[in-house]
Structure formats: structure tokens, C-alpha cells
């Protein structure tokens, strides 16, 4: 079949079980001096296309001056089920906050 005769703009449906593009996580920095912030994720065949897709998807409204993309597989995430042991331990440990301490007399610029 000559693809010139394909109905216009018709992409062939991907075959069952065909490999999908891998997932990438996108980090956008809005201006110098600030850090990159996670903006979302996208699919792309490789890193340089992921950067371009990120530019199209996440900097449409002048949001950024710099983009990072990271393969989602490369990110190790904390386990949502171990929230207790991971994140509740600091509770009640007031001494980890500067405000816990009273300022010594005569100390300036605090």
C-alpha cells in the first residue's frame, strides 16, 4: 500500500504489545537563583526528544529558563505506606527548630 493514499493525518494504531515510549519526569526552573521544581511527566523516545516535549508541554506560558528531564525509572521514591516511620518521627521534637531556643542576651542580628 502506498502511504500517499492513507487517509489524511491517520496514524496507524500501535500494534498490541508494541513498545511504548518511556516515561520522563520534568523539572523546570523559572529564573536564575531558584531551583528546578518538578512540573510533571511525559513520554518520549529519548532524552533529547524528552527535553523538546517538555519545552512544548511545560514552558508554554513563559514558565522557565531551564529544563531537566530524568527517566522516571531512575527516581527512587519513598514508600507511601511507611509514612509513619519516615515522616512522623520529627513530630514533637521541638528542639530541631531554631524557635525552640531562647535568644541569649545581647546577641544581635537574630
Amino acid at each position: 500500500m502506498n502511504e500517499a493514499r492513507l487517509p489524511e493525518g491517520t496514524a496507524p494504531a500501535p500494534a498490541e504489545g508494541a513498545p511504548r515510549w518511556p516515561l520522563w519526569e520534568v523539572f523546570v526552573r523559572s529564573s536564575r537563583g531558584l531551583s528546578h521544581v518538578h512540573a510533571g511527566s511525559l513520554h518520549a523516545p529519548d532524552a533529547s526528544m524528552a527535553l523538546r516535549n517538555a519545552r512544548d508541554l511545560y514552558t508554554r506560558r513563559n514558565e522557565g529558563v531551564s529544563i531537566w528531564v530524568v527517566p522516571s525509572d531512575a527516581i527512587a521514591a519513598s514508600d507511601p505506606d511507611s509514612k509513619g516511620s519516615f515522616f512522623e518521627s520529627p513530630q514533637g521534637k521541638d528542639y530541631r527548630h531554631a524557635t525552640y531556643y531562647t535568644k541569649s542576651e545581647g546577641v544581635k542580628h537574630l
Binding site: E3, W21, N53, D56, L57, N62
Partner: protein, 285 residues
């Protein structure tokens, strides 16, 4: 895909600052014409009409990909490029129309097929993704040097429109280059399709670089098409060589778009593009 809620969640986060920025808009051009500060002469208006029609027809073709691209991300990329082209078309048509007391909409929606001045390349059917990429590859390699040179035009408005457009076309150039390389170097099937796409589109290269009497009349306000051909050959040649693709054997079509002689495709594009405006003249939302 829509992570706008997470973007807007934290006011101090770096990805939340949204500004439209500043750039020349078609509304500014219309205002300048209204105030009589920038109105093109007849020849420059005819020239702007050409550039506007190229961009308008390409935008209409590319817009057809929305919801039909191989991946959602590519859907957005092609949609972005279509909107960039539409923006260029609006600026050129607004400026051209100001010479004749016509709005961009009157020019886009209420002209007949022989009055359109677009080159044949832009009305070629989308075909498959590779055919669209082949058309984009040619279009961007043509428009990039064209707009870069036009930004030095003696006509300040054409220069301003081109200076804005060239930055956007720079990206279209990169997008199409990336895809030509990937499709050519991907699978046997993707390479076959890339070759077929180039075979479909390459015959329409010739018309883009033909000079005609209007070009001589606009002088330094415009860009001589034939003067861009060497750079086109060099820039496309470098990518095609890397992709190990050969376009040297393709014949050239006769063209005629600049005279209003179009292929069988333009009428259908116009029918779809113009039907709403003609059914409900002056409709807005």
C-alpha cells in the same frame, strides 16, 4: 498529562510564574495601520500576502494532526507549530490587508481559491507522520533563512514580524531535523516511510526559490527567493547526509501557487477553513 494543578499549588514554587511576555501581536499591527503609522505599499502588501498565505495553509494542514498524532506529546508539538504558523499568518495578513482596507479575517475567509498566493508545498496532504515531517523539514529550512533575511527588510513592519517569527521557526527546524534523523535511523519501516515522505514532498521545493516580477518590485523590502537556495541545499544536505537519505533523483513540479494556480487540494482546505465564517459572517467567541 495536565499537571497545571500541581504547577499552581505552591505560589513560591519556581514553575508557577506565568507571564505572557512581550512580542509584536497582529492587534498591534492593525492599530498601527489604523493610526496610519505603518501601511504597506501595494507591492509590499502583495508580498506580505504570499508569506501570510504560506503560513496560513501550513497552519491549517498541521492543525489537522491534533488528536491524530502517534503520541500525545507529538500532538502538542505539531499543534504548537501550527499555532506559530497561524500567528505568522495573522501578522502578515493583517499588514497586507491594511493596504486594501481588509482585515485578516476578510483575507483568510472571504477570498476564493485563485486569490490565494501560497506555494504548492504547503497545501500538500499530511499523508502519514513521515510525510508531514518531510513537509515540515522543507518548510522550516525555507522559512528560517527567509525570515532571518527579512528581519533586515527596509520595511520596518515586515522586519519586525520576521524577527519574531524566525525564533519560532528555529524551533520548527530543530523539531523536523530531529524527526528526520530518527525516522531515517529507526526501523526499516520508519526509514521506508521517511524516504516515501521525502519523495512526495521534494518536488515542491523548486517553486519556493523561484523569483518573479513582484520580487523585483519590492526590492530591499523583501527577500529574493533564489538567494536562499544555496543555504537551503546546504542545511538540508547536512541532515540528509547524516541520515543517509538521497533526494537528488526527485523531479520538480511546475508550481504556480504565486499566480493563484493551485493543486486539487487547496479548494478542500479552504472549504473546511472558510465554512463557518461564511455561514455566520462576523461570528465571534
Amino acid at each position: 498529562m495536565d499537571h497545571s494543578s500541581s504547577l499552581g499549588g505552591d505560589a513560591s514554587a519556581s514553575a508557577t510564574r506565568i507571564t505572557p511576555g512581550f512580542a509584536l501581536r497582529p492587534e498591534d499591527i492593525a492599530l498601527a495601520a489604523e493610526q496610519g503609522t505603518a501601511t504597506p505599499g501595494g507591492d509590499v502588501a502583495d508580498y506580505a500576502l504570499r508569506l501570510g498565505d504560506d503560513a496560513l495553509i501550513l497552519a491549517q494542514r498541521l492543525g489537522h494532526w491534533i488528536s491524530r498524532a502517534p503520541e500525545l506529546e507529538e500532538d502538542v508539538a505539531l499543534g504548537n507549530i501550527a499555532l506559530d504558523q497561524l500567528g505568522h499568518a495573522r501578522s502578515f495578513l493583517t499588514y497586507a490587508g491594511s493596504a486594501w482596507g481588509k482585515s485578516e479575517d476578510e483575507l483568510a475567509y472571504f477570498r476564493h481559491e485563485p486569490e490565494f498566493r501560497s506555494a504548492h508545498l504547503f497545501e500538500q496532504p499530511n499523508g502519514d507522520f513521515a510525510a508531514t515531517i518531510a513537509r515540515q523539514f522543507i518548510a522550516a529550512n525555507y522559512q528560517f533563512p527567509l525570515y532571518r533575511e527579512l528581519s533586515k527588510s527596509t520595511d520596518p513592519m515586515l522586519a519586525a514580524i520576521a524577527a519574531k517569527a524566525v525564533k519560532e521557526v528555529d524551533y520548527h527546524l530543530d523539531h523536523s531535523t530531529q524527526w528526520v534523523l530518527r525516522l531515517a535511523g529507526g526501523t526499516e519501516e520508519s526509514r521506508r516511510r521517511m524516504e516515501a515522505g521525502l519523495a512526495l514532498m521534494w518536488p515542491f521545493v523548486g517553486e519556493l526559490f523561484e523569483d518573479d516580477p513582484l520580487i523585483a518590485k519590492v526590492g530591499d523590502a523583501g527577500v529574493v527567493p533564489s538567494s536562499l537556495k544555496e543555504e537551503f541545499d546546504r542545511s538540508t544536505g547536512a541532515v540528509l547526509a547524516e541520515a543517509e537519505l538521497d533526494v537528488s533523483g526527485h523531479p520538480m513540479a511546475t508550481g504556480g501557487g504565486r499566480l493563484g494556480r493551485h493543486s486539487e487540494y487547496l479548494g478542500f482546505i479552504l472549504a473546511e477553513m472558510q465554512v463557518l465564517a461564511r455561514e455566520f459572517p462576523g461570528a465571534g467567541w
